[in-house]
Symmetry: C2
């Protein structure tokens, strides 16, 4: 039969993200396009022990659980907020989700009407842009610099519209890797407070910071907007986090933290969307986090040391002749390097050539809503091992050389 | 701050389902309200072995997976369709979801516009009604009898409106437990085909059938609408299934099967909603299903034998004096008994009294959209053990006696 899909489905059909994903599963293909952690660093033996313990302890771990998520894991998060982020949160303020993607999707479903203006960092996360499009939001970009979004531009954009929310990622913005200054965080929070605009703060990448500083130290220097808003007591900020980058992605455990009123509404949307995320995975994760054989702080420090080395290698490779004229800022954390291509190069055309050679990157256009970004690419440096980094960057380099020779 | 939630959120706020869930987690509380399988029958040792094998085999099981779901598990489902349900399906026609709830939610998101009329069995699944409300559908009930929905009433309801889809559950309709006759299946499919109305067929309960007949025999006698439509080649039927009732709920693995065009669109919505369900859980489930220590056919036969005993016990208990005047049909499978209360009893009022005594059921009103169903209750017979069944039914019986004495 001929289907008549909902109007909103059409924007979704145009997304090239799906195509990218299926490509990268090909054998011997090197992808810098996605945001995958390094699987050779997964804590496999601790996970195996945790799975055995959880299953043998009680069948309850395999039964339906709470739509809001396993209480002990939410309590663990509260304790982590307190110890590491100087923030007092109670378990009722947390909803466990299927990754950070679902946390934002649920928020959008309960909060955004078709036609609502939504402010976003410019450029921003392709996955979150898709959610906003599906929800029919009018996406309004806010420009920024190395300290975060410009307060002046934020105010300017607010003059003509009443935005429903502002979506930001102050710790290593996807894709630019920008780490907002403390001053900028305070300014932006104050502006949104005075205008009563909800802030959605994605902190999926915050724990991945380089330079050897501890988690506690990092969050002292760079408190989340959520912390500055006293853990959402004022309800100004909805915070999004995830274990996908710090433990493993396949347990699909992220969370939203905010005011009780907001979280309670999101819980109801969660229940409607899929009843609940995997209770088993949440039990397993909680067991792992509490087990004596696994220390998440040490684990993440180890990840950060290795990711910093990979980033350094990537920036070294960008000094090779093929990349001459490319420009980038070295991020202090996160998973991406945001590169402006040598003059006159179009990232979408370059991608086609690069795919033929067996390597992929994310074309900058996917991080914008208006066709901008053709001269940018996003490179992930956490997934490829060092050999792959070398080979993949060479393959893209070859593609660039061919293009430059032609023009 | 004061939130301005989206308009559609309001219908959701009224849902009492959430309240029921949180109650039933109380200690020593007996709930017949939900649809939980018996956790003492979970295949724990096989699951433990599967988890260990999957984790130690490769870190890839803990990495991000495919939005559409783990290919070998989709292939297993294709083989199961072929062997047990005489139906040829290819892996591209299947999307793995977070339970059957998400399968229907994704369909509704891509297919239903606010204001679209949607036909449903009358009464129908509370969880699915919530999805339709959230999507802004106009819910149009179709009456039925012991053979399934009435073709005449279906045609009559189609006269004045152009429905977007028809939602049915021919194998043990939730809540009534009706098993549609083959004749009725063919008639309904033909009507929807001629009117070009998509059918969504929920088969979450089909494998739980009593009377000792084999799975193959059952599906020969009662082929799904999807099978009758040649496995969705015509695209007339979207089929929904789940491992929640046959293996364990906490792996949160359900699926949608349909035409490639429909599934591809749903995959994009899936990616947007949460990227993908747990790849780890899908790998674990696949390993379990292929392992020599676990035979899903035998396992489900064992469940069916035990569930049939529990159902029999429940119907015996309904013969006690307190329940005099109640009426019900004994279902040939599924998880629920749909009981019309002794005259003049209101299920919502009775529930309050029953909750005080420590037992719960689902009031019939939740299975309707228009306030009907006050004289009905839905009792789950799969989760409570035999002792709990006895005690819980007595507690509700006491509540009934009090009410009857008062009036």
């Amino acid at each position: 039969m001929q289907y008549s899909f909902a109007e909103r489905t059409k924007s979704m059909l145009a997304s090239p993200l799906h195509f990218m994903r299926s490509l990268s599963t090909r054998e011997s293909f090197i992808s810098f396009a996605e945001e995958l952690p390094a699987e050779e660093l997964f804590p496999l033996s601790s996970l195996e022990a945790a799975a055995a313990a959880v299953i043998s302890k009680s069948p309850a771990a395999l039964q339906y659980g709470e739509p809001q998520g396993y209480l002990p894991l939410r309590e663990w998060l509260c304790n982590n907020f307190k110890q590491m982020k100087h923030t007092e949160v109670v378990a009722g303020q947390i909803l466990l989700t299927t990754g950070s993607q679902q946390a934002f999707d649920l928020l959008a479903r309960v909060y955004v009407e078709p036609g609502d203006p939504v402010l976003v960092e410019h450029p921003t996360s392709p996955g979150f842009l898709q959610i906003l499009k599906m929800q029919g939001a009018v996406i309004v970009p806010v420009e920024g610099n190395a300290d975060g979004i410009h307060p002046e531009h934020l105010l300017q954009q607010m003059e003509s519209i009443r935005p429903k929310l502002l979506l930001v990622s102050p710790n290593f913005t996807n894709p630019t890797g920008v780490l907002w200054s403390l001053e900028r965080r305070k300014e932006v929070l104050e502006i949104c407070r005075s205008r009563k605009v909800l802030i959605v703060e994605d902190n999926s990448y915050g724990d991945l910071h380089f330079g050897g500083i501890s988690e506690k130290e990092f969050y002292s220097k760079y408190p989340s907007l959520f912390s500055l808003d006293e853990a959402g007591k004022g309800g100004q900020v909805l915070y999004i986090g995830s274990f996908s980058k710090t433990v493993v992605p396949a347990l699909r455990t992220g969370w939203a933290a905010g005011s009780k009123a907001m979280i309670e509404t999101m819980v109801m949307a969660k229940q409607l969307a899929d009843w609940q995320s995997s209770h088993f995975n949440q039990c397993l994760l909680h067991y792992l986090l509490e087990s004596s054989t696994f220390d998440i702080l040490e684990h993440v420090q180890m990840l950060n040391r290795e990711y910093e080395i990979r980033l350094k290698l990537m920036t070294e490779l960008l000094k090779r002749p093929a990349w001459k004229g490319s420009r980038f800022e070295i991020p202090a954390g996160g998973m991406f390097l945001w590169v402006k291509l040598p003059e006159a190069l179009d990232s979408v055309a370059l991608l086609k050539c690069s795919l033929d050679k067996g390597a992929a990157f994310l074309p900058g256009t996917l991080c914008y809503t208006n066709g901008e970004g053709r001269e940018y690419i996003r490179l992930n440096f956490t997934h490829p091992g060092r050999d792959e980094l070398l080979l993949g960057m060479n393959l893209i380099g070859e593609a660039i050389t061919e293009f430059t020779a032609r023009s």
